[in-house]
């Protein structure tokens, strides 16, 4: 039986009477306020359960007397944010595209907004960095099918390309082979002629004169006499280093044979005009804008 009145001679403290291998446990009591504080925290926790959401139920959770919800807090914060943004957004709506780009504050706002909206709506095709892929233009470079000025980019954004919108960009690369306008041999010849224009290696033994003739008869209408393209009809410059569908001979033959008609949706009606303005500035500021 324990003898709790035993006092340890070194520390002057009573022992609990417990001993393990001859080592005895000292009874060093906690201060009473400490244990009271501990009970207060327990009561506090119970109070917390009552006033705040705490316990899960089958489909929801206990709401708490204060009616607190972090979701409601977010809504309030967002509403405040809209209030703060209100003035700036109004400025974005009234300023011209060129003026937005010259005003550092508006430029920063348009770029920030544009980047978010781009991620939500455009990145699926053009990539998160707007680098595009085969058939989807890289928006960072300076090669623009439909023009790279602020106004032209805004136009493309609003109405799209072959989107079905009444104001959309029209015009397409015809399927010269499939529709029987050019024979396969002629296609190979004209493809190699275009390669020569672009400074790409050509197939041995191809006839440049025949190529020039085919090009003049079939291609200049859209791509122009010097093959520099025409943004009004979306005809690409064939002399530069950027090829949307690939610069190898096979890809070019495929393009001429089957034609190309990529689609960009019209964003008018889906995004509000101020957002589209911000998008135009954002895309323009990626670096390729003219």
């Amino acid at each position: 039986m324990a003898d709790h009145t035993e006092v340890d001679s070194v520390s002057g403290t009573t022992t609990t009477g417990h001993a393990w291998d001859g080592i005895k446990e000292l009874n060093t009591p906690l201060p009473r306020w400490w244990v009271i504080t501990f009970y207060i925290t327990i009561i506090w926790a119970i109070g917390y359960w009552i006033v705040y959401p705490a316990w899960p139920t089958i489909s929801s959770n206990t709401a708490g007397l204060f009616g607190y919800s972090s979701r409601a807090d977010v809504a309030v914060e967002l509403a405040n944010l809209e209030k703060i943004r209100g003035g700036k957004m109004a400025a974005l709506a009234t300023a011209s595209l060129a003026d937005i780009e010259k005003d550092p504050a508006l430029l920063a706002l348009a770029r920030a907004k544009g980047k978010t909206v781009f991620g939500d709506n455009c990145a699926a095709c053009h990539g998160t960095g707007a680098t595009g892929s085969k058939g989807f233009p890289n928006l960072n470079d300076d090669d623009w099918l439909w023009g790279g000025s602020l106004e032209q980019i805004q136009q493309t954004l609003l109405y799209g390309v072959r989107s079905g919108h009444s104001k959309t960009h029209e015009g397409q690369m015809l399927a010269f082979g499939k529709d029987g306008m050019l024979k396969p041999a002629e296609i190979v010849t004209v493809a190699n002629y275009v390669r020569e224009l672009a400074g790409l290696p050509t197939r041995a033994g191809y006839d440049p004169k025949a190529g020039a003739k085919i090009f003049a008869e079939n291609c200049v209408a859209c791509h122009g006499d010097n093959a520099k393209g025409n943004p009004d009809v979306g005809a690409p410059n064939l002399t530069d280093k950027i090829w949307l569908y690939g610069s190898d001979e096979a890809s070019m033959i495929e393009t001429i044979t089957n034609g190309r008609a990529g689609v960009m949706p019209a964003w008018e009606g889906r995004l509000d005009p101020v957002t589209i303005k911000a998008m135009a500035v954002y895309v323009h500021s990626l670096g390729g804008g003219k």
């Binding site: 039986m1 324990a2 709790h4 009145t5 009573t14 609990t16 009477g17 417990h18 001993a19 393990w20 291998d21 001859g22 009874n27 009591p29 906690l30 201060p31 009473r32 306020w33 400490w34 244990v35 060129a98 780009e101 010259k102 005003d103 550092p104 430029l107 920063a108 770029r111 990539g127 998160t128 960095g129 707007a130 680098t131 890289n138 960072n140 470079d141 300076d142 090669d143 410059n237 530069d240 280093k241 950027i242 500021s285 990626l286 670096g287 390729g288």
Partner: protein, 488 residues
Amino acid sequence: MNQTVRPEDLQPVDDYGPLYAAHKKVYPQSVSGTFRRIKWGLMGFCLGVYYFLPFVRWNRGLGAPDQAVLVDFPNQRFYFFFIELWPQEVYYFTGLLIIAAIGLFLMNAIGGRIWCGYLCPQTVWTDLFYAVERLIEGDRRERMKKDASSDPMKLERISEIVLKHSIWLLIAWWTGGAWVLYFNDAPTLVKELVTFHGPALAYIWIAILTATTYTLAGFMREQVCVYMCPWPRIQAALTDEWALNVTYRYDRGETRMSVKKAADMRALGQPAGDCIDCKQCVAVCPTGIDIRDGSQMDCIQCGLCIDACDTVMTKIGRPTRLIGYDNDINIHRRREGKPPVYKLVRARTVAYAAIIALVGGAMVYKLATRSLLDVNVLHDRNPIAVKLSDGSIRNAYTMRVLNKHGFDRVIAVDIEGPANAILHVVGADSVTPDRPMIVVGRDQTEELRLLVTAPAENNPDKSIPVKFHVTDIGLGVVASATDNFVSP
């Protein structure tokens, strides 16, 4: 006693004795002497700095805050007299924290718990609260008598208690009030607070600090040091045998006996201790311990027992400093008849002083050479590089220019790197095509999008280092950053 107890032999115990100890209230007696004077002086100094520093003005020019010490959270600035720090310069605080920690270690190695005894806010405010208590309710004996009295309270006693708590609350409230002034323009906030137009956060902080000050200094007192504070535990690991701690010189004090008996013994040529067991050292102790039990964790080493003992020793005509700053080594040396040795310069103190000097020196150097124009550059990650229609390569960067001056500055941006590279700053190049220039507002940063284009044929390397220079056109100051120009 040392018999082995096997687990199966253990029996359930009904009575463990008290598991929780009731708080024994400490009634420190007033005392006067050297260390009490030092404590009064330091208390006045510390509290004076704390309460009045926010009102000190410092002219920084128009539009900038004129408060000498200000933590400006909304604008993310910290002002300390002539120093203004930005959030990216928090490493100064790291330096300050290192110096503070090593400073504590150094104090500890030299004179024990100097921090605890003289400078710790818990000690300073508790001391102040004790002073108020003593002034209103009287000294140790009176207070003990009043607390122990079971008579029904008279109006006089009630008014004493009310007055004491009112003054305590007033001090606590002022403590919280001074705290919030460090985060706002002090005179403005004081005006707002008294007209009840202050920000809710200020009132909440004042309330919190009023409550903590009142509770910790009025009620918790030495319990904070004994049960809550980690420093007594840490300092036990930091102290060494040479550190001068408040020590009862038992070589001189023992054997304890009355003044008369000691005089008789000495007359007979017998050894006699100087300690007369008057317990004055215990009576004045703010943590209620007996220093004669030796160095202990509860002792905050405030030196008040030294003053108490010196007073008694003077009265009985014995040498003072029976209790003093000393260590066990010297007690043993004196016993052996050797002179005491005080070693302030030892590997430990030298190392601490060296670390403080090193970190302090580095901070002063960094502060003295701190640039008021700064630039950071971050390369675009997606895409890393863009091929343009003429085959040339373009890289894009985000540049942040920091103007830490109190006025607007015109900044020109130049690059140095790939051959024939052309720089465009989005938004700025249409205004100044040959050398992009921008205006960075006073005490602000500006984020820019930079496009660097270089012909691929002149730059065959996969990665070429680029230097970005921002030049203050007015002052000619240049800041630079480096990054790389990458080919796809």
